[in-house]
Amino acid sequence: MTLWSRIRSWSRAILYRARTEREMDAELRFHIDAFAEDLIRRGVPREEAQRRARMEFGGIESAKEACRDIRGTSFLESLFQDFRFALRMLRKSPVFTAAAVLTLALGIGANTAIFSVVYAVLLRPLPFDQPDQLVLLFEAKLQDGIKKTGASYVDFAEWQEQNHVFSAIAGAQRHDLTLTGYDDPSVLDTVPVTSEIFSLLQAKPLAGRTFVAEDGKPGAAPVVILSETLWRSRFGANPIILGNSITLDQRPFTVVGIMPASFHVPVFTENQDIWIPLVQDPLFGGWMTRRGGHWLTVVGRLTPGVSMAKAQAEMDAISDRLARKFPAENAGWTARLAPLQQELVGNVRSPLFVLFGAVGLVLLIACANIANLLLTRAHSRAREMALRLALGAARNRILRQLLTESAVLGLLGATAGIILAYWGAQSLNSLLPPDLPGTQAIRVDGWVLGFALLLSVAASLAFGLAPALLGANSDLQTNLKEGAAPSGEGRRPRRARGFLAGLEVALALVLVVTAGLFVRSFMAMTSVNPGFRAEHVLKAEISLPQFQYSTPQQWTAFSDALIEQIQSQPGLEQSAIAVPLPVADSCVNLGFSIAGHAALSPGTLSSADYVSASPAYFRVMGIPLLRGRTFSAEDSLSAPRVAIINEALARFYFPQEEALGQRLVFGFPPDSNVSREIVGVVGDVRDVALSQEPGPMMYVPFAQAPFWGGEVVVKSSLAPSSVIAAIRQVVQRIDKNLPVTGVAAMPGVLDSSVAQPRFRAGLLGLFGILALVLAATGIFGVISYSVSCRTHEFGIRVALGASSHGIRKMVLLEGLRLAAAGLGAGTIAALALAQFLRSQIYGVGAYDPVTFAGAALLLVIVALAACYLPARRATRVDPIVTLRYE
């Protein structure tokens, strides 16, 4: 047989369905007419001839059907038929359809919405050309416990010169610069970069140019590239700005280019206003010659064909050479690399997978629920199926029709689900913690839609297969004999329904336990004592332009004036300046040594978090003084250096002796080490995060370790707005070009520091509730159906004297048996899964008995509640009414 003839016959059948149908009619009619005419010619009367011709031909319709089958149209046509039939059946039982579609829509919608986040954050390739070539390079000194830190610029320059595995490497950092001269002074998110970054990321400017090598040389004219967003919002999208200069930190920079809004240097926050050459940065520019400081974020692009392993080997060799050449600074330091994408999403991957898994469980429960509904329906349609089988329908034809019905349900559910997901993705977008990478691009796009459709097909198969198989294999004889009344159900369907309800309970338990663990973890995080009192404390950040304020004397003069003037306002007496603040800012961890103590063995680095604070800081923040004294106005630049340590440092490093009076040697920047006398010990503070145990900390007087700005903290019972207004007023009075940024209430800072755990706990809690509702309806469906099947039995029992109490107990026990089996299986599954959650929860064990017992109890209550109505119905059975029907 030729392929061509087949295709022709098929395409003709599909394209000209009506025509081939007409032609087939005409051909058969011609046959019968010709036959009849022959008979007439032989003397048979006309009417008799017609009748005989038709009779001898046999079944015309079955012949046509056989012809259609051969043409190969039957599949499409019957699919269409099945589809229409399925729609009709669904319309006939609107309550079932609504319940199933709603359940599915919730399941598919939630999954699709979460998938849109998973896709945007984890799966979508980075918005750069050939993103798999991009790597992040960092430095490590494992013997000191430093696993990952930035590179020193000097090392970066050596890498750049010596490596043969990268087509380019570039460095960047992040800094705030103050823009003045346009409206109010404002702080710009600035990314100081080396000039290679743009070509490395293959980013083209919207207008003007990107940086060239000359821009990065010391002594070059300061240049700046603006983001499209800033250019539009701040400079009215005026192209005149190109070639003109703007004032950043009181210094003119020439605008040479504008980057499209989509561009950002990876690793840093995606809101970037401007880019300047690293050498022009007032802070980092000065650090470029220091071999000891490790602060530069380095991105590299692998030469095509070079593997990660080969690149790592080359970097190892370079590190070895550097360590031999500069043993003092480079011994022990190695360069390491990691794929950029992996580095960007590293700490959100597992939490997202937990959410994705949880929402998948919700869909599974929804599928089990619908499968149960379908099984119930299959039983009431058993007679229909038996009749069709008896009339000669093929079993696989019936199977196909039942699966088509499931698929139609699935598609309806997916349609409603996609609408839900669209709306869900939008609200997720606003709910998502802002520190999640890639979230700008969360939306329902082609990939997400494809996922939803795939999901609906998988779901249709999942909930449609068992009922369809049971339906198509329905026992002809018994079903025809029994009649339509659902008097008894076969063993297999009943078992299947019981299994599905048990499965729902098990899955719901897993979800509720997971949700419980995360909710308890969140509660533990928020109820922890941070070591300071955040109530009524406001903070505001002031950053001094370093070209104008270039000496420590200027910084001290500014901070002294600032605090003095703020404190002189009524109600603002409790004010201080410090840097960095706990939780609000990232910590500065410095190594230190104890004067007079033997050097610690290598591998045990003594380090502590460093804070520079003015005298009132401890009182304002409510950090208790345990021994000694706090700082005073006498601890000035000219007075002997002093320090205050926290209890953790005292306990760990001075376990046997009194810490007061001992001397620590440290300083910031790290190479300005000075010996300082410990004058006080204060309480521990959780400065990294609420969920992190407090570590050793050391405080120095702001006057002895000034900074180019800092965080003003004010504890006041005045309204926050008037406190902020007062701070702004004082700052403006000292320097009208200084912006006040980072204004926040400390309780709010603590609150947003747990945004991710809160988001996770909230979402998981929602899924848990959804699972509970679905499991409850599942149990309700099984029990109430079983009750309606046993109406007759209950009638007899009541007639024989069973009490309504006894019957209620029977029904409740049936429900409890289902729930118990599900709880058993669910507990095992939850125990097995909980260990994977251990790293993601805080303050609560993965096998937390309270959570497990609470979840199980909750499900038992839900199961009993779901059985209550059916049980009541069972007790109301009137024996006379039921028995009369016999």
Binding site: M1, T2, W4, S5, R6, S9, E23, A26, E27, L28, F30, H31, D33, A34, F35, E37, E56, F57, G58, G59, I60, S62, A63, A66, C67, D69, I70, R71, G72
Partner: protein, 113 residues
């Protein structure tokens, strides 16, 4: 008419191809020609004729076109294709081999075995 033979399974296709090989025919004509050649000894289920014709056309051994019948009515005429002619030849050879073998078996005598 009571002496009619039932058609052997699978032979209808071959007979149709043979009938059509003698000249284009419409469905009823195929029926008449087979009956005529066989001397009315073969009983052909008229209902199974058309599925067979459709199958042969679908497989590319027959082709069809609408034309005019002897009594001036529109009818669909089937004609053998080149592939159909080869098919008929190979089927005929197969059939002849088969009948030879079966005849030899049926004619065998005890002493030959």
């Amino acid at each position: 008419m009571d002496k009619q033979l039932d058609l052997l399974q699978g032979t209808l296709d071959m007979l149709i191809l043979k009938a059509v090989s003698l000249g284009p025919l419409h469905g009823y004509g195929v029926l008449l020609r087979i009956q005529q050649i066989s001397g009315n000894c073969l009983e052909i289920q008229q209902g199974s004729l058309y599925p067979a014709l459709y199958r042969l056309e679908h497989q590319g051994w027959l082709t069809s076109e609408w034309g005019e019948s002897e009594n001036k009515r529109k009818a669909k005429f089937y004609r053998l294709t080149a592939a159909g002619r080869r098919r008929l030849q190979s089927e005929t050879e197969k059939w002849n081999r088969m009948t030879d073998v079966i005849a030899a078996i049926l004619h065998s005598k005890p002493e030959e075995v």
